[in-house]
Symmetry: D2
Subunit: 286 residues, 4 copies
Amino acid sequence: MKKPTAVLLMHCPDQAGIVRAVTDFLYENKGNVIYLDQHTDAASRQFFMRVEWELDNFLIGKEKIEEYFETLIAQKFDMKWELHFSENKKRVAIYVTKLSHCLYDMLYRYQSGEWNIEIPFIVSNHDNLRHLAEKFDIPYYHFPMTKQNKAEQEAAQLKLLQENDIDFIVLARYMQIISSYFIKAYAGKIINIHHSFLPAFIGSKPYHAAHARGVKLIGATSHYVTEDLDAGPIIEQGVSLVTHSDKVSDFIRKGKDIEKITLAKAVSKEIANKILAYNNRTVVFE
Amino acid sequence: MKKPTAVLLMHCPDQAGIVRAVTDFLYENKGNVIYLDQHTDAASRQFFMRVEWELDNFLIGKEKIEEYFETLIAQKFDMKWELHFSENKKRVAIYVTKLSHCLYDMLYRYQSGEWNIEIPFIVSNHDNLRHLAEKFDIPYYHFPMTKQNKAEQEAAQLKLLQENDIDFIVLARYMQIISSYFIKAYAGKIINIHHSFLPAFIGSKPYHAAHARGVKLIGATSHYVTEDLDAGPIIEQGVSLVTHSDKVSDFIRKGKDIEKITLAKAVSKEIANKILAYNNRTVVFE
Amino acid sequence: MKKPTAVLLMHCPDQAGIVRAVTDFLYENKGNVIYLDQHTDAASRQFFMRVEWELDNFLIGKEKIEEYFETLIAQKFDMKWELHFSENKKRVAIYVTKLSHCLYDMLYRYQSGEWNIEIPFIVSNHDNLRHLAEKFDIPYYHFPMTKQNKAEQEAAQLKLLQENDIDFIVLARYMQIISSYFIKAYAGKIINIHHSFLPAFIGSKPYHAAHARGVKLIGATSHYVTEDLDAGPIIEQGVSLVTHSDKVSDFIRKGKDIEKITLAKAVSKEIANKILAYNNRTVVFE
Amino acid sequence: MKKPTAVLLMHCPDQAGIVRAVTDFLYENKGNVIYLDQHTDAASRQFFMRVEWELDNFLIGKEKIEEYFETLIAQKFDMKWELHFSENKKRVAIYVTKLSHCLYDMLYRYQSGEWNIEIPFIVSNHDNLRHLAEKFDIPYYHFPMTKQNKAEQEAAQLKLLQENDIDFIVLARYMQIISSYFIKAYAGKIINIHHSFLPAFIGSKPYHAAHARGVKLIGATSHYVTEDLDAGPIIEQGVSLVTHSDKVSDFIRKGKDIEKITLAKAVSKEIANKILAYNNRTVVFE
């Protein structure tokens, strides 16, 4: 049985002594470190670190860790940081349109226990995949979208997300552009899968564009959603070989497998609190 | 010992009976077919075929095959076609600038006998790699390029290429834009390696751009050179994973390995007469 | 809308004129060939071919094609061959034990229409995955297996398979050794997924063995089941990188994704009648 | 310009406080840490760490670091450790037989400056590749090997290696089994490339065996040489897809590219002091 742990994700301007200060803080308070990884970006001179320790003998109470870490460590180094507890299951909302392959694959990981999360509901702008949600007893909310009702529907969605304490949103081939207003409300908390190896083939119908260009490999990219379309920080990318004998429909079929695996890898990292985004790039710890 | 063979590469509008007509033509003239592959592009309704047969019992003399095939087969089907003989070694000119990894790898394949070709000379806009050419006793022509002398230097190169009966040119990280005039003279006969997975990161410094974009895979693309920069028919693409811990210099170092292998695969296909380009895409036979 | 087609898969000792004879047979009877691929194995001097043609104007009735092809072509060349019609949906039985990832992935492809097949039932030696079968309204037969009842249970399974006209069986992580008697009854019709890159790590617990050996890549192999354990003709193999930081449980988790994708690729080829097995090797057409 | 650095590679039984002790040691003596990576193997409860720091302001003289580290840190934690200085170029001996692709590729990396090493000499049991050594002005020693002279020749080689202060040996497709006596003299200091994805196809002619088995992917493995043939700790593995149309000669040709790239990756890690071997497995830091 895995013991309860806490994870600190932090970044700050690089300087000497950060690792020492953090490991001292944990060691002196009887926190048994089971994971420590760090990275220094040479160009921006930023330091990134993820540390995980067991809570059972830790001398600082769970509810006090934030205050103590901020006071004793973070402010000295001008850190930005997040604290997560392994006992808190992530609450994830899934957005879909009509294609089921990514949703299906996520439901498998959820239902088989690979992902220890809650999926309080699924949102869609179409009603097509309701049957799948029902198979797994997950509420399915249908928000038909038009130019006229978009602001209103997004507001309703935001209410739903907040009422359900959603930690992050996965766009599992959700074919709607999300407004800036919505994105700001969940900044860094929306993960998308785009069906090309970005930055090639931004926008709609990337497989058609890839086929027209005559590429010999196709790809998929999972990234955080920002206000610039398909331009947010990349978390994971996958590719597959194609040949002249593959039609657009073959690109789409082969692509589905890359999309679902690539998205799942990114979501797995998010669940494990292993991603730090900075300057439109990500640090993804092992 | 491999017997002498002939290869026909052909394409034409698709219709019934093409394979049958070609195989009949070879069979009735005692040509033993050792390779036959075909492809029909559904969108353009074009038919593509590569057939290779042994010449030793073939009833039509080598010098007459072109005439007979054109008369008896090609004109009926409105074919474009090329005939190649395995006994004719390809004559390949290599263009380089300052980076040696692709040149080096090509020289290995040439010198070890993996590629049964002639390399009559190496061209460069710099003198840096002369020592390498000298190691392998290959003439090295240095053509310094300026805006002023470009037309003149390219004319001199064309003369050199023609005098040496060059079959095709390989730009092995040649960092000069070639004029339309030159490209037309060797249309479909110039193979480039670009250091990105096209169409992402066209133009100069693609690894810097890839790093700035925060991609999780880098690539290389070998393609025929056309008048649109980095937009010609793609022959082969390769990729490599990168992580947040890779600096631009790591992208460049890892990229070199992908570049040389990707270029070598494309050149190998060209040597074996296995590529047909059509509508800015390629059919690359196994 | 795709027109109804027929597929011939054939192999025979190589000689001149086979392609010509088959294409003549189809052409003269107004069969529009939409796919033709062939392969000659140099070592065994065997010729392999797959040809697919549209039936709508074909002059020979569906029920007569077998007879005519055997009489007019096959016996001349000493061919082994199979005939398939696109209109006949394959009937596939799935065998599972306790792990759901491959079953789940297959059910997605079935239910979403990616695979145009029937799944008349699922067989298992445990009752764990019944809920999944029920979600998709597929009969689930539980055959508990002991040393004592094995022969009896397999006999009951064979009866079930025959009553349901099963075309082929997929062992989707079915953790039971099947008897020679059973294998002979469905020779060349049982596809397994083994969780290693065969021939490494034959038998049970391959991820544990791979971890102990300290490999840097893990794999999965889909193959036809023969009487030699994990030694049948390989259809498809996939791999994934691992590092020293991956524990056995990580190997297992990463491996599941490779297993399901590798198995799906193999089953897709089987559904499309693109595999010929010969001398414990497979020819897998594009 | 990169400043001179020192690297410590260490491993010991896991316990709390190791990272803290090492970072304290460096911090208090004004060593600016530029790289720190660690790994704990859950099964063996061993802790592994690599730390690199700049020497320019370090308060402990280069010649004293070993003594101080052993006294103040290593003995407390029962550590095994190695100290390396970036200013000391590695001295590498290359062993070859008749195939040149790996040697060639290594010479490119050496000569182009990708590898900042010395290659004092090349050893071979044949004279075939002398011309290549001469092109690069590297001494080439031909040691013909027979059952009778093996012990004597290996003794002569050991003398040569010691006289030249060789840090490690690369078997770049050296097709001779090395005696236990020799291996013990350079334990953990001999890197081999085997032309299969180990542990599949141990021993000679792995491509022939792979072809006979009908695999769909081939591979190469770089590993440390131990007394058990092809069974030493694996450093790096690579693979390439193959199809039914690939003959054994195609396996060999495609394999050469994987071999040279896989070997180069392993040697690069060795040069950078990024590998720790333990219990027949390796920790390979990023």
